[in-house]
């Protein structure tokens, strides 16, 4: 990978304080979409937390990602309100349409599929988030529309 990672500004924001590790990691992830290995090594040295300790933290929290995100990241809420409104069926439908399981990336790097335990828009259940934008009150019909819009975006 040839990207130049610049994380000193992030570390400076937290005075190179190791207790801000989770904040640092999430700022890095906001910037690059994931946690690149080179960056982790760099952080480890600069704030003096061993890589293995860092790995302990990263693996504990569901939001940290070690792979670059796909072009379209689809997150299907599986919270309680969404569950009783059919979120599981929606997820299964999307899984079979995209031929992907939750947690996977499509081989062409176009889609990644995830679940989340609630994004707090429960009144609009069941919810789906695509690249940060929340869509509510989903049915098979709205999902078909959303997916085909992504496909069309591809062709353009």
């Amino acid at each position: 990978m040839n990207v130049d990672f610049d994380i000193d500004s992030i570390l400076a924001r937290y005075n190179f304080d190791s207790s801000a590790l989770i904040q640092i990691l999430s700022d890095v992830q906001d910037k690059y979409g994931y946690l690149p290995r080179e960056v982790l090594e760099d952080i480890s040295q600069k704030i003096e937390v061993s890589l293995s300790k860092m790995w302990g933290v990263i693996s504990f929290y569901a939001l940290f990602k070690l792979k670059p995100p796909a072009k379209y990241n689809i997150t299907v809420c599986q919270g309680t309100a969404c569950h009783v409104s059919g979120a599981k069926r929606n997820l299964e439908y999307i899984e079979s349409k995209l031929n992907l399981k939750a947690g996977e990336h499509s081989p062409d790097g176009k889609y990644s599929l995830e679940t989340v335990a609630c994004i707090g828009s429960c009144a609009l259940a069941p919810t789906i988030v695509i690249n940060g934008k929340v869509y509510g009150r989903n049915t098979v019909k709205t999902i078909d529309k959303l997916l085909s819009r992504l496909e069309e975006g591809e062709k353009k």
Partner: protein
């Protein structure tokens, strides 16, 4: 500079500013996360476009938080100078032009009107309420407070949400914001603050209901026990606002922060003063980006106005707040795990005692309070403990805030006096079950709570009475389940959640929840025998008794409560291999009703696993052995010809 005069000045200015606002034309859009998801962004764009097109000038466009009537989002309010604010519901971008055009011409698009605000009430005593003059054409419009959804509500914690512009500190100040902090710092001793909160009877709204004043007193006294002979130096202490809101299906704290972020800052600062802390954290889940953004803005404004920082209001009290984001772990809502997470560690809990009030962040006395608890504090200090304790029940004073969701007509935010019955909340406020379905149960307390059946619907809500039913009050998630929710599947759902969120530190929770999940999966797939129910109950009781932290200790509640109230559904799954709610795959079939079928082929097209066979000539049939029960054909059939049968 005299900082106290400074405060009076900026408050005066803010009040003036807010009065002037009512002399202008305004369009106000509900811009919380759910409003945006429902389409508020598109509506906002359209409003800007339409104003330009219609050449209407001098209109202030404002965003506000979620007023809690989520089923009616997007909401667009228009307030002409000195006239009541009229709220329009379920506004689609293409309707914006007509609504605005009419409204500015002195007409109303009646069928889109949600309500009007005839006054802007202020819960803080001795503060002015804004009253509008009501023009002729508005007569007959329902007022906000008279809506069935609102009639039984009493909004103390939610006092500003959906009314003020959360990104404008003047709006908060004009409604009595920071008055309580001012009073606290300039007129009350820490001990007096603690006594006031104690005598108000306020109990923590994060789930456990621990008396807030008592908790603060622990932390306050923690210092005294440390100052023995030599130390003149004060022990460092911390205050933390718990905005982790891990209960999936709850959004009270998110809406509060998005809609009224300054009230959280004010409450936390008062707590800090009471216990003698100079540093505070707001621990908020990363899944709430808008709430984080609004908090950041509010913090900046609070520093700029010297409500945070050094020598607040010219006193010798210093206090600063930092935001700490979570990273997607439910257990981090538990206070000892949260402490670890703030310190940058794995969010694993530890046994208590010692309680955080004695030994918390970096081993120092730390109090942790929920968002709603802190937001209630300023009002108590302004209106008095007596006022607060006159609301609610013997067991729990004040109001309860719920996020009402699921199969209910009016989903949204509800704040009612403690002691209001479940029936009133679900049927009077919530409007009952959606789509002519039968009510089956209401789930409260999230993964730590339970399911309450219809027979107990007249139970008044407070901490004690919900606990007696085997559920808990929790932090306020309330999910209405209809006949189309399978109670066994719901228990399975919660166990899936807990099994994946268990931090793994203690065996009963790590292993026990996985075993319980396996049993539930056996039942929902029709592979269990009846003696499994005894095992499941036994295991649940063991986990409850032996788990390390609150997560494990309460995790079996969804199982135990459904076993108690809905045992017949478990038995049906096991003995008749039937899921009466038609949710559990394999325990019901999809069939096509030939009398209704028009052979259009939609079901075949939409089926993602090719389980629909046949052709437009011969008609279609569904091979249920291939079916994954995604419900696509059922939902898409234009003639509703697909039926689910047991």
């Amino acid at each position: 500079m005299n900082k106290s005069n400074h405060f009076h000045d900026i408050t005066e200015e803010a009040i003036l500013y807010s009065k002037e606002k009512h002399n202008k034309n305004r369009i106000i859009i509900g811009y919380g996360t759910c409003g945006i998801a429902a389409g508020a962004e598109e509506v906002l764009k359209e409003v800007q476009q339409v104003l330009h097109e219609l050449k209407i000038e001098d209109v202030i466009i404002e965003k506000t938080g979620c007023i809690g009537c989520c089923s009616y989002e997007p909401l667009m309010d228009i307030e002409l100078a000195n006239s009541p604010r009229v709220s329009y519901k379920n506004v689609k971008p293409k309707e914006v032009k007509e609504i605005i055009d009419k409204h500015f011409e002195g007409e109303l698009k009646k069928e889109k009107v949600f309500c009007m605000f005839d006054e802007q009430e202020n819960i803080i005593q001795n503060q002015e309420s804004w009253k509008y003059n009501i023009p002729e054409i508005y007569s007959g419009l329902p007022t906000f407070k008279s809506l069935p959804m609102l009639k039984k509500q009493k909004r103390i914690t939610l006092r500003n949400v959906g009314i003020i512009d959360p990104e404008n500190i003047n709006d908060y100040l004009a409604r009595g914001g920071y008055q309580a902090l001012y009073k606290t710092l300039t007129a009350l001793s820490p001990k007096e603050v603690i006594d006031e909160i104690k005598s108000s009877g306020l109990r923590g709204r994060g789930g456990a209901g621990f008396p807030t004043g008592v908790k603060w007193e622990f932390a306050y006294n923690a210092e005294l026990s440390k100052t023995t002979e030599d130390s003149i130096e004060k022990t460092e202490k911390y205050v933390v606002c718990n905005a982790d809101e891990g209960d999936p299906g709850a959004f009270m704290d998110r809406s509060l922060i998005e809609g009224d972020p300054h009230s959280v800052i004010e409450g936390l600062t008062i707590a800090a003063y009471a216990i003698g802390a100079t540093k505070g954290f707001i621990y908020i889940r990363a899944e709430y980006p808008l709430a984080i953004k609004r908090l950041e803005i509010a913090l900046k404004q609070a520093y700029e106005n010297h409500f945070l920082g050094d020598n607040i209001f010219g006193t010798d009290f210093h206090f600063s707040i930092e935001i700490r984001k979570g990273a997607g772990a439910f257990v981090c809502g538990e206070e000892t795990a949260l402490i670890n997470s703030i310190m940058g560690l794995r969010g694993e809990p530890r046994p208590r005692p010692p309680y955080p009030a004695v030994s918390g962040l970096w081993g120092k006395p730390t109090i942790i309070n929920n968002v709603k608890t802190l937001v209630t504090v300023p009002v108590i200090l302004l209106n008095g403990a007596k006022w607060f304790s006159s609301i609610g029940t013997e067991d729990t004073k004040g109001t309860a805030v719920f996020a009402l969701t699921g199969d209910v007509k009016n989903s949204g935010l509800v704040e009612v006096p403690m002691g209001t019955t479940l029936r009133e909340i679900i049927f009077d406020i919530g409007g009952g079950v959606k789509g002519n379905k039968q009510f089956k149960a209401v789930q409260t307390g999230g993964p730590s709570g339970g399911c309450i059946p219809f027979s107990l619907i007249d139970t008044p809500v407070d901490f004690a009475s919900l606990k007696k039913l085997g559920s808990i009050m929790g932090s306020g998630g309330m999910i209405v389940c209809s006949e189309s929710t399978c109670m066994v599947d719901l228990a399975r759902y919660f166990m899936t959640f807990i099994a994946s969120e268990s931090c793994g530190k203690c065996t009963p929770c790590r292993e026990g929840t996985v075993r319980a999940l396996e049993m539930l999966e056996k039942i929902t797939s029709g592979d269990a025998t009846i003696d499994i129910l005894t095992d499941l109950e036994q295991l649940s009781l063991v986990i409850k008794d032996t788990a390390l932290c609150g997560l494990g200790q309460t995790a079996p509640n969804p199982i135990l409560s459904t076993l108690k109230y809905f045992k017949e559904e478990y038995i049906e799954h096991i003995e008749q291999k039937v899921c009466r709610a038609k949710v559990c795959p394999g325990l019901f079939n999809y069939v096509i009703n030939d009398d209704l079928c028009i052979k259009c082929g939609v079901c075949q097209n939409v089926c993602p696993v090719d389980a629909v066979f046949g052709s437009k000539e011969t008609g279609f049939f569904i091979e249920n052995r291939l079916c994954i029960s995604c419900n696509a054909c059922f939902e898409r059939c234009p003639k509703r010809a697909i039926e689910k049968v047991n």
